[in-house]
Subunit: 135 residues, 4 copies
């Protein structure tokens, strides 16, 4: 599990005065980048060195409580599955103890031509450190 | 079912050259607005006259094929459930015959203080016209 | 001059209840695409066939009056300058007769390696049709 | 002058592989919030306690060099003018020593009914600490 903090900016809110629902997927993506970095990787290296991409094939969000401008949110990112050619991340967004949102993304592993590829074993091993991972 | 067209702008894409995954939730929202308008309502009226809001409590997207800059996408919006205090919309995004993405949103009906409210019967009746609706 | 219409979605607004200031640059970009299309071009073709890009090197916006959720805005796009290797577009956003915002973008013409290139003469000729153009 | 760091996420880039031009205005806004916080204020307090808003009336950006996914950008924010009812911020975005973008925003001081208001003297005094300010 990796944890980052996100400060809500004005541009993230909508006229209801709360974070617009699509922006949680932006937060999740910022979280995935930091997850990889915390494991000693960067997604940029992953793309450039491995010539592999991890496009999102499915995403879901549950909205528990609104987040507001200037809130400092805590985002926890977990890698919960790493199969042959797919990976699943789960996300929890909190403000203090309050649960704001939770969600998941499922990713396929593809090469730069878009063909499905097996995820490199050593990559999974590195990502799995400290995770409670189905594989 | 209501159908709208969406032209992909540069700002919707990411460096993979495809529509960024969060932006489908923006497309869905544009679709919901036009769905209401097609039924003779506007969400603005709904907020201002009924003093009710329909915040999203859950959302999900499946990504079938990438959409690219300048694509003209067709978005179909269906209201598939209207219960006591929740509603569910489903969405299909296509480019020509190709399926690009599909998804759903679940909405709660709340008043301006955030209390759950029963959805007005006449509202559901108006939205239900032409829909295959569980209620 | 080319004119398009833009419907303000929830995701474009911020908690002040008005269109977030950065989103006018998104509107301008949607306008540029339609400007090119109206002249019989697409920016995608331009990139793919001419192997040229028109990145923005400068942009400015003046905000005259707020635009709100569900407003139907009219956006006028004019090409006002086409020099050796730069072009300037100007934009006016109105709601009915009311002026909402105005702005400009200046673009460089570069090849796919980022080197400045002369704008093709026939391209400028096509874009100039119906424009009051300094060149 | 206040300085913050910004990590470029995938959602900030476009298909040219660089940060989409509108997103610099988002970065600037994140910078303004942190500028206020560094001076012991928050914009949220400002809105709620003073019942004043600082909407943007003009904005401009010059794009010097592209920023890319995963770049760690440094953003410097300066308050350069504080007049009777307007304020001007200036921004510099760098990646290491390289200048990526620069820009400005001009803000009006208005009350919650949108009427222009004199900026409170003690507010300007607090913001001016450490700034090279025309007033």
């Amino acid at each position: 599990m990796v944890r980052i903090e996100i400060r809500v900016i004005y541009g993230d809110t909508d006229q209801m005065g709360v974070v617009y629902y699509a922006n949680y997927l932006r937060y999740f993506e910022a979280g995935r980048s930091e997850f990889l970095r915390a494991k000693g990787l960067t997604y940029r290296d992953f793309e450039e060195q491995e010539r592999l991409l991890l496009p999102v094939v499915e995403a879901g969000v549950s909205y528990h409580a609104p987040a507001r401008y200037d809130d400092l949110l805590g985002l926890e990112i977990r890698l919960t599955e790493a199969r042959r050619a797919t990976a699943r991340f789960e996300y929890d967004v909190r403000r203090g103890e309050d649960r704001v949102a939770s969600g998941f993304t499922v990713h396929a592993c593809v090469d730069t031509q878009g063909r499905v590829r097996r995820m490199p074993r050593d990559l999974i091993d590195r990502l799995a450190v400290g995770e409670d991972l189905a594989r």
